[in-house]
């Protein structure tokens, strides 16, 4: 299980990535993430993050009918969200490289 503290800064970017592929909803996002190994991600974990990303304009929501009764909220990425996703990927690559160099003995950067 990935510790929640470690997930904190990266989960938002990962959710954005899932939404960037196709328009989707909370439960489907959590299932998708679980499929990639984020075992402890429930719909409740990502719901507040979705609200925050919507408030920041990274994603937009549209209500559609669902089988259980209440309308379901479908999310799609916005141009600002795409830019944010690019920033996240850039930052993640820097972090990944730094951590890998530290742990695999790749040596300090020149």
């Amino acid at each position: 299980m990935i510790p929640s503290q470690m997930l904190k800064g990266t989960l938002e970017g990962c959710i954005l990535k899932v939404i960037s592929v196709k328009e989707t909803y909370g439960y489907e996002i959590s299932q998708e993430l679980q499929g990639y190994g984020f075992s402890n991600i429930s719909e409740g974990t990502i719901y507040p993050l979705l609200l925050r990303m919507e408030k920041n304009g990274y994603i937009q929501a549209q209500y559609r009918d669902s089988l259980v009764g209440p309308k379901r909220k479908y999310f799609s990425i916005t141009p600002i969200g795409e830019q944010e996703l690019d920033n996240f990927v850039g930052s993640w690559k820097l972090l990944e490289r730094a951590v890998n160099r530290l742990f695999t003995g790749g040596g300090k950067e020149e």
Binding site: Y47, P48, L49, L51, S66, R72, K73
Partner: protein, 231 residues
């Protein structure tokens, strides 16, 4: 609550009925907590709708509510509240004025119906006898109304903020009995004392003027509710 919020509220109330009892209890606790949060009524209803969709879908899949939103409902609600835009100062003030206007119009109506002068005044109005049409407000009445208003705000806030604590969790049975009894006796004693000491008339209002003021306050509340309140 504006029109759009009211429609959503009605839809949510209907959806609420589809919840199984254990999920309904948890949903009620969460909604109570969200009600006193610094977020707009519209956002409260939107979140309620989303949560109902999440919980009802889980119910349909045969999953427990804790499997989808975890066991710490308070923390979950705090995260939601932190993710939503805060109410503006203007919106908070309008909410406050709206509640005060509604409370005062209800208290005005109660005074109009229950005041000891009312019976005489209405008798005079019906018989057409030109006599005293004034309704008195004593010091005791005014103090009582101020206490009722303050207590209403305090009770709503208390219920919202402690919605996740079960009664048993808060205090023991004996302690609850003593505290509850003391509060009850205190309130009763307070009102008896106010009534006894505050019999002196503070001011008098003509019954028609009181009716108009009460109606105006109710109309003011309705206007704020429908048109001014921020979404």
């Amino acid at each position: 609550m504006n029109k759009q919020t009211k429609i959503l509220n009605r839809q949510n109330n209907e959806l609420d009925k589809k919840l199984v009892p254990e999920n309904q209890t948890i949903m009620t606790d969460m909604v109570c907590y969200l009600r006193v949060a610094n977020i707009s009524d519209y956002d409260q209803e939107l979140v309620r709708h989303d949560l109902l969709e999440i919980v009802l879908s889980a119910q349909e899949r045969g999953e427990e509510i804790s499997a989808v939103i975890g066991d710490d409902y308070k923390q979950f609600c705090d995260e939601i509240i932190a993710s939503l835009p805060e109410k503006s100062k203007k919106s908070k003030w309008l909410d406050f004025v709206d509640t005060i206007l509604l409370c005062l119009s209800v208290l005005g109506l109660i005074h109009l119906v229950l005041s000891k002068d009312s019976f005489q005044v209405f008798k005079h109005l019906i018989t057409g006898k030109k006599d005293n049409f004034m309704i008195s407000f004593t010091i005791g009445d005014i103090i009582s109304y101020v206490i009722i208003l303050a207590a209403s705000f305090a009770i709503v806030h208390y219920i919202g903020k402690t919605s996740f604590k079960s009664v048993a969790q808060n205090t023991g049975r004996v302690k609850r009995f003593i505290v509850g009894g003391a509060i009850g006796v205190g309130i009763m004693g307070g009102f008896i004392l106010i009534n006894a000491l505050g019999r002196q008339t503070m001011f008098q209002v003509h019954v028609i003027a009181l009716c108009i003021v009460t109606l105006c306050m109710y109309a003011g509340h309705k206007i704020l509710q429908n048109y001014v309140q921020a979404k």
